[in-house]
């Protein structure tokens, strides 16, 4: 039995007829960094709102430590939220923002201040206690929101796209910080994002959502290397999905007849990541370069395979790519173990 159990939760907002969540079941362990990943509108925020208590699902059960929490109002749940917009109280100082939750729980002033200092230390904002939220930068406000939630020592911390308002560099930095804080505090995090790179970098496990249903749940390498569907393969990173069918000897072949090097007994979608393909004279596949994008460390090519309409993306380090230009004929090699048959 997990720490947080979401059992067959479905949700429909009052006055609408669209099912926003459809029979979602999840188990989250203690001390886990769990990510909900999915495109805009798939129901991630709705799921968090249900966990926080702002929304009661139409059907299903949610238990925390074996206790049914759906009937507990948000102000009594041992769950705190870091809002996407931070939602800092503009009329209170940073210190009073961070001590707010403890004050409401009746913690004595001295203890409150001690806890607030520790939380501000944790997010590296000691010395900001007496400022107002409006005096802080976006990244600093984000940290205050985190400190405010952590000061209450919740069992479960919900984070709704907390990094989406930050610029690239700050986001990278905060990703590391969040991971460190999660480890140091031993809190379970449910982290919402639509950025697959962020999800892969931070999570212990990821749930990929699509239109209110769970598409796949697994650790980052499950999700990246062994996607359970086209949707997951395409949503997580770049991928090549090839249609293949078995020949008379049970080998999976491309429509042009070229054997891929793995076996199968039914038509299948075969995935290979761009970085698993390399240009080599003795490659199994051949084709013509139709496009080429240089991006610093790597160069991406589009290669139209001979004998079929399939076009694949490949990624090479820039030294490997030197000397290859548009229109060149190339051969592509790969390790057959890098092929993944996506469940039909």
């Amino acid at each position: 039995m997990g720490f947080l159990e979401v059992e067959a939760v479905s949700h429909q907002y009052a006055g609408t007829d669209a099912q926003v969540l459809n029979e979602v079941s999840l188990t989250i362990q203690e001390n886990e960094f769990f990510t909900l990943l999915g495109p805009s509108g798939c129901g991630k925020t709705t799921m968090l709102r249900i966990l926080a208590g702002f929304e009661v699902p139409s059907r299903g059960r949610v238990t925390l430590d074996g206790q049914d929490i759906l009937r507990i109002p948000p102000w009594r749940r041992p769950v705190n939220t870091v809002f996407q917009s931070y939602a800092l109280f503009p009329h209170l100082t940073i210190l009073r923002n961070v001590t707010f939750g403890l004050k409401m729980r009746g913690v004595a002033k001295a203890d409150r201040h001690g806890a607030a200092r520790r939380a501000l230390d944790l997010v590296r904002l000691d010395g900001f206690a007496d400022r107002m939220p409006s005096d802080l930068s976006g990244g600093q406000q984000q940290r205050v929101a985190l400190a405010r939630a952590l000061a209450c020592q919740p069992r479960l911390l919900l984070l709704d796209e907390p990094l989406s308002a930050l610029d690239y560099k700050l986001r990278k930095e905060m990703q590391g910080e969040l991971k460190r804080i999660q480890r140091e505090t031993g809190t379970s995090f449910v982290f919402v994002t639509h950025d697959q790179e962020e999800a892969l970098a931070m999570s212990d496990r990821i749930a990929v959502m699509r239109q209110g249903t769970l598409e796949q749940v697994g650790n980052p390498s499950d999700i990246y290397d062994r996607p359970s569907s086209d949707f997951v393969a395409e949503f997580i990173g770049d991928s090549n999905l090839l249609n293949a069918a078995p020949d008379s000897q049970g080998r999976l072949c491309l429509p042009g007849g070229r054997a891929l090097g793995i076996r199968g007994d039914a038509p299948a979608r075969v995935m290979i990541r761009p970085e698993a393909l390399r240009i080599a004279p003795d490659g199994n596949l051949s084709g013509q370069v139709t496009d080429l994008v240089y991006s610093g460390a790597a160069t991406r090519f589009l290669v139209a395979l001979d004998g079929g309409e399939e076009t694949v993306q490949i990624q090479q380090t820039s030294t490997e790519a030197a000397g290859i230009s548009m229109g060149d004929k190339v051969c592509l090699a790969y390790d057959p173990q890098q092929l993944w048959v996506v469940a039909p």
């Binding site: 109002p73 939602a87 109280f89 503009p90 209450c152």
Partner: protein, 244 residues
């Protein structure tokens, strides 16, 4: 524009310091009209009445308007689309119509003309002013702040007192000051409903005018003007302090 707006007021103020008897012929600087006005018991009684009526009416109107605005928040009520314009509609009803209607209503239910009736009537016509001010602020207020408070263990009551009210406070204050000034300046409705013992400043001025426009009228006008401006400044100042 500004010239048209302010020249008459400027002339009014200047002539309130006129030494002579005429309101339009300058005869040298003097404070005699102020002294004369201040010594009048009628003036003092009218000032007190005006301030009492304005304070009470503004207080009641702001309280009711705040409750109404809060009521319109929360979960949507059926017919809400109609109710908000309905609360602001009195702003465009000709004042004299309201005055006559109120007078007839008061007589028919037996409310005596006097302070109580005056405060009740002022409260009613001040509500839309306070309501519009407060509602405008509430409409742009982000309810995730209240959710954040809920999330941080504040029950609805404590959320209201520690988050909603402090954030709404400047608007409530602005609504109060606006209601106060509207009440202070009201003439038509007060004229219909004031009894002999509840004369307000504008009515007192009107009475003086019938005896001829002397610089004393200018002096009373200036006093009324200064009171209004003073309250606006106080409101602005409190607002500034809040922000710090």
């Amino acid at each position: 524009m500004y010239v048209y707006l302010y020249i008459p007021l400027l002339i009014l103020i200047v002539f309130s310091f006129n030494g002579g008897r005429m309101a339009t012929i300058w005869e040298g600087f003097s404070l005699r009209w102020y002294a004369e006005v201040m010594q009048s018991d009628q003036f003092r009684a009218a000032t007190v009445n005006s301030l009492v009526v304005a304070s009470c009416a503004a207080f009641l109107a702001t309280t009711l308007a705040t409750l109404a605005a809060l009521g319109f928040r929360g979960r949507p009520i059926r017919g809400q689309g109609m109710m908000v314009p309905f609360l602001s509609f009195p702003l465009v009803i000709p004042e004299i119509v309201t005055a006559v209607a109120t007078l007839i209503f008061f007589i028919s239910i037996g409310v005596p003309l006097g302070m109580v009736g005056l405060i009740a009537a002022h409260t009613v016509f001040c509500i839309p002013f306070a309501f519009i001010t407060i509602k405008a602020r509430m409409d742009v207020m982000d309810d995730t702040l209240e959710q954040a408070a809920n999330d941080l263990y504040a029950d609805p009551r404590r959320t209201f007192f520690s988050v909603t009210l402090p954030l709404l406070w400047p608007a409530i204050l602005a609504g109060f000051i606006l209601a106060f000034i509207v009440s202070l300046d009201d003439f038509v409705i007060s004229l219909f409903l004031a009894g002999p013992s509840s004369t307000t400043l504008p009515i007192y001025m009107f009475g003086m005018m019938r005896l001829g426009v002397t610089p004393a009228v200018n002096a009373v006008s200036t006093i009324l003007l200064v009171m209004s401006v003073l309250f606006v400044l106080i409101a602005a100042w409190i607002n500034r302090m809040q922000r710090k």
